[in-house]
């Protein structure tokens, strides 16, 4: 890794004006500091770039431009700056970035794709290193000594020969007049004292005393409350509305139609809710080709017989299957899934005659800003988006449909509005994890060789689906996103085909923690297990044989097997299943230990998880994200699914969409591989391996292959 970074100052200017190409570091222009120095002599802050500010009281404030939705960016990202800047972690203050042109990144300030740390790594190290370098320069100049005699440590610059010492705060005036350096030296990973250590999360104190502010908690003077009654039938619309009773509800202010339904606005949450309850709406169900889950799966089955778009084609699968001694095939199905973030969708919008301000739990604040600009006709600088804490994201909040609604209502009412979705609204109007069908075939030889692998993914397309208002043109029918994890199957097999068969329905689909990797890994890893079984080889050994050229897969697989005591005696009636999958740049293997009772209920007792995510930044966060992904994935493996009935989502609340609770919680052991590779994602990669690890363990316990999720006890009763 090069640890000298050259910074061309002219490029900053260019980078900022073209936002998104070229140099990733987004500095303010160096003049900003000089200007500030000239304008205000009394309080001079040192603001070397958009991520860092130091005030004369020695308060260091670090800015986070990703949305904090539980994944720990308020801790892991500032840690990277603090490392290079040599800060005292206990004195660091973290703030959420404003939504403006200076912040951009892989998704233009969007948070997702397990990308926060991996796409910030370089730019935040640079940001910290530049700040430290300028402070060293300032101190050297203050003392008229050579810079290389000075040392930065825990928020202080020390002149080593004399022992003179100044805090960063005492140096702000001087540092503000220093020009941004042309190049900076980054620390050698051996010198890391913050990165790779477990520091307390910066948001925890706010989250244990009720003061953490979610959009749901924002309160404005004169604010009113709104709920929307949306058509429950996909593709349906309003036929007739009788709002007489609703208008008579005490506290209801107004009822009107917006793009997504009927808005009921009240003086309080309860008044608006009661108003909505008293609406009498007749719906036109519209025409729906696939009005229930049965017809959707049938449609997928029919689509699977058609030709697909090639995603990967190695060798000649057709010929290899013909030559194989044994051909194994299997079909796997997975259902739609809701996100069910604990905080349902909501926002607060304050529309005024010449500007608009929004508080939103959004993963896509720039998208929100653009949309609000378009809706209000205001220029972008008159649209202020405040990103609050998100009560869960999981991909759902990449979509700003709830912001659109809030803006429409606030514009109509000419008042600040808090728009709230009930749990039922949230569950029935989600952008669901697509249901899918996976057709797999493999060719095996008597000597144990695996010579062919074929995987057809039949699924609705998120990218080319109907949920974008401005869909991306669907040219070649190949949605590579839908093949994530299927296309990259790591097993070394000479003939591989992976294809995609689009199967769009009118159910809105969207990003759901780990996206298509969740379905594709399930199919891959169950099928590999079936092949090992056919060849009568141990499932870990079989995988290792096919992963000889994949050292990072191999390492996590071996580590998880070792830590789980694979192949050794475990508790009576307990059985193990294994899986291994790489996604978002990170390699994960899991061993699940289960038992199946006489009622066919699967109990997951323990999950051992090995993860290689490159250089670990915050190990406690990595563990938390693995734990969280396993729990989220277990809910979808053991409990909940979204089904369609009569053109609408059947499940309405947590009694019908069951998620994992404390009494179902397995013990989870996470083992992190020590690596000096660049950091990769951790928010999602822990999820894809859990379903196949569990279903493979169920097979070991019962001899029954689970080829359709979630696991149904009635299929496992002995």
């Amino acid at each position: 890794m090069p640890n000298k970074v050259f910074i061309n100052r002219r490029d900053f200017i260019k980078t900022i004006s073209t936002a998104g190409t070229g140099l990733v570091i987004g500095f303010y222009l160096p003049f900003k500091n000089n200007l500030q120095a000239a304008e205000s002599k009394s309080t001079i802050e040192f603001i070397p770039n958009i991520w860092v500010s130091v005030n004369p009281d020695n308060q260091v404030t670090l800015t986070v431009s990703e949305s904090e939705m539980g994944q720990g960016v308020w801790t892991s990202l500032p840690m990277i700056i603090a490392e290079e800047m040599e800060l005292d972690w206990t004195k660091v203050k973290v703030v959420q970035a404003p939504v403006d042109e200076y912040y951009f990144g892989r998704f233009d300030m969007g948070t997702g794709g397990s990308a926060s740390v991996r796409t910030s790594w370089e730019k935040l190290r640079n940001a910290g290193a530049v700040a430290k370098d300028m402070l060293l320069e300032a101190a050297a100049s203050e003392w008229s000594v050579a810079k290389n005699e000075c040392n930065a440590d825990s928020g202080y610059i020390t002149h080593q020969p004399t022992g003179k010492k100044l805090s960063y705060g005492e140096l702000t005036r001087k540092a503000a007049s220093i020009e941004i350096p042309e190049s900076v030296k980054l620390k050698d990973p051996n010198e890391f004292r913050i990165i790779g250590t477990d520091l307390p999360r910066t948001d925890t104190p706010l989250k244990v005393n009720g003061t953490a502010q979610y959009a749901m908690d924002v309160d404005l003077p004169d604010m009113v409350y709104a709920f929307i009654e949306r058509c429950p039938y996909f593709g349906g619309k309003i036929k007739a509305v009788d709002d007489r009773d609703a208008r008579n509800v005490n506290g209801v202010l107004d009822i009107f139609e917006i793009e997504t339904g009927i808005a009921v606005v009240g003086l309080s949450t309860w008044a608006a809710l009661q108003g909505r309850k008293n609406l009498r709406i007749t719906w036109d169900k519209g025409s729906n080709k696939y009005p229930d889950s049965g017809s959707i799966y049938k449609f997928f089955k029919n689509r699977s017989k058609k030709r697909g778009a090639k995603g990967r084609s190695d060798g000649n699968v057709k010929r290899a299957l013909k030559n194989a001694d044994t051909v194994v095939d299997a079909v796997y199905e997975v259902p739609f899934q809701a996100h069910a973030t604990m905080e349902p969708m909501n926002c607060v919008v304050d529309y005024r005659s010449d500007h608009c301000q929004v508080w939103a739990p959004t993963q896509s604040p720039k998208d929100a800003q653009k949309r609000v600009g378009k809706m209000t006709g205001f220029p972008i600088d008159k649209v202020k988006i405040n990103v609050t804490f998100l009560g869960g994201g999981f991909g759902r909040r990449a979509f700003n449909d709830f912001v659109d609604e809030g803006v429409e209502v606030s514009m109509y009412m000419k008042k600040p509005v808090k728009l709230i979705w009930t749990r039922e609204d949230d569950m029935q109007h989600d952008f669901y994890r697509p249901a899918s069908r996976h057709v797999l075939k493999a060719g095996l030889m008597k000597d144990g060789q695996t010579i062919a692998w074929s995987h057809s993914v039949v699924a609705p397309s998120i990218l080319f689906g109907q949920m974008f208002k401005y869909p991306i043109p669907f040219k070649d029918k190949l949605d590579v996103v839908a093949l994530a994890g299927a296309k990259e199957v790591a097993y070394e097999i000479p003939n591989i085909n992976v294809d995609y068969k689009s199967a769009n329905t009118n159910i809105p689909v969207g990003w759901w923690r780990s996206v298509y990797d969740s379905q594709n890994a399930y199919a891959n890893e169950c099928f590999v297990d079936e092949l090992a079984q056919t060849l009568n080889v141990d499932p870990v050994q079989y995988r290792l044989q096919l992963l000889k050229k994949s050292p990072r897969h191999t390492k996590v697989l071996q580590l998880s097997a070792k830590e789980a005591g694979w192949g050794k005696d475990i508790e009576k009636d307990h059985y193990q299943g294994v899986s291994c999958h790489a996604s978002f740049g990170t390699y994960v293997a899991q061993v699940a230990e289960v038992s199946v009772d006489n009622e066919g209920v699967v109990h997951v007792h323990r999950v051992v998880c090995a993860v290689d995510c490159g250089q670990p930044v915050s190990p406690t966060t990595i563990k938390a994200q693995m734990e969280g992904s396993i729990v989220y994935g277990l809910s979808a493996t053991l409990n909940g699914e979204i089904t369609i009935e009569n053109g609408a989502v059947k499940q309405s609340n947590f009694h019908e969409f069951e998620v994992l609770r404390m009494d179902q919680m397995p013990k989870i052991d996470v083992h992190i591989i020590n690596s000096s590779e660049a950091p990769s994602g951790v928010g999602e990669p822990g999820l894809p391996p859990i379903a196949p690890a569990v279903t493979n363990a169920v097979f070991a316990a019962t001899g029954i292959r689970v080829r359709k999720l979630p696991i149904k006890p009635e299929n496992l009763r002995s």
Partner: protein, 155 residues
């Protein structure tokens, strides 16, 4: 609309609302105590858990008219500086992720420990299974409860 007298976090408060208004919305809209969260509105998820006369209850399905005169504690009233042993244990174990469910988790855990200072695995399961966490912090919650129980015993 009617007037109700309630005792919230040791303070006497008068609110004027419809009698069937859930306590949750009185806390959040009228009293601006937003630490108590809305999660499901049907008593299924536990995000709205508060203490009513010392017991963990779901404020989203508790009408204000049924708790008039009761002693109510919310997350804001649990301790002065966030230093209740359960809150401290939550910090020590780095429990919260998104944090939205955690007020409810903490209130349920405190109620559990006040009636059972030494809960075993099953006690924790049966008390805490009323509270959903989608981020999957359950094992850290479990550790937090055990840690807090120890501290409370030694206090």
């Amino acid at each position: 609309m009617a007037s109700f007298l309630i005792y919230i976090n040791g303070e006497k408060r008068q609110v004027k609302v419809d009698g069937n208004t859930p306590l949750l919305w009185v806390l959040r809209d009228n009293l601006k105590l937003t630490g108590t969260k809305y999660g499901c509105g049907r008593g299924l998820c536990g995000a709205c858990t508060v203490h009513i006369d010392g017991e963990a209850k779901r404020s989203c399905i508790t009408a204000i008219e049924n708790v008039a005169g009761s002693d109510i504690t919310t997350i804001e009233g649990l301790s002065k500086d966030g230093n209740h042993p359960v809150q401290k244990a939550w910090v020590a174990e780095d429990v919260p992720q998104c944090g939205y469910c955690q007020s409810g988790q903490i209130m349920t855990a405190v109620a559990l420990l006040s009636r059972n200072p030494d809960p075993d695995e099953d006690d924790i399961n049966s008390a805490m299974k009323m509270n959903i966490c989608r981020c999957g912090t359950y094992n850290r919650i479990r550790k937090g409860i055990i840690k807090a129980a120890k501290e409370m015993k030694n206090a």
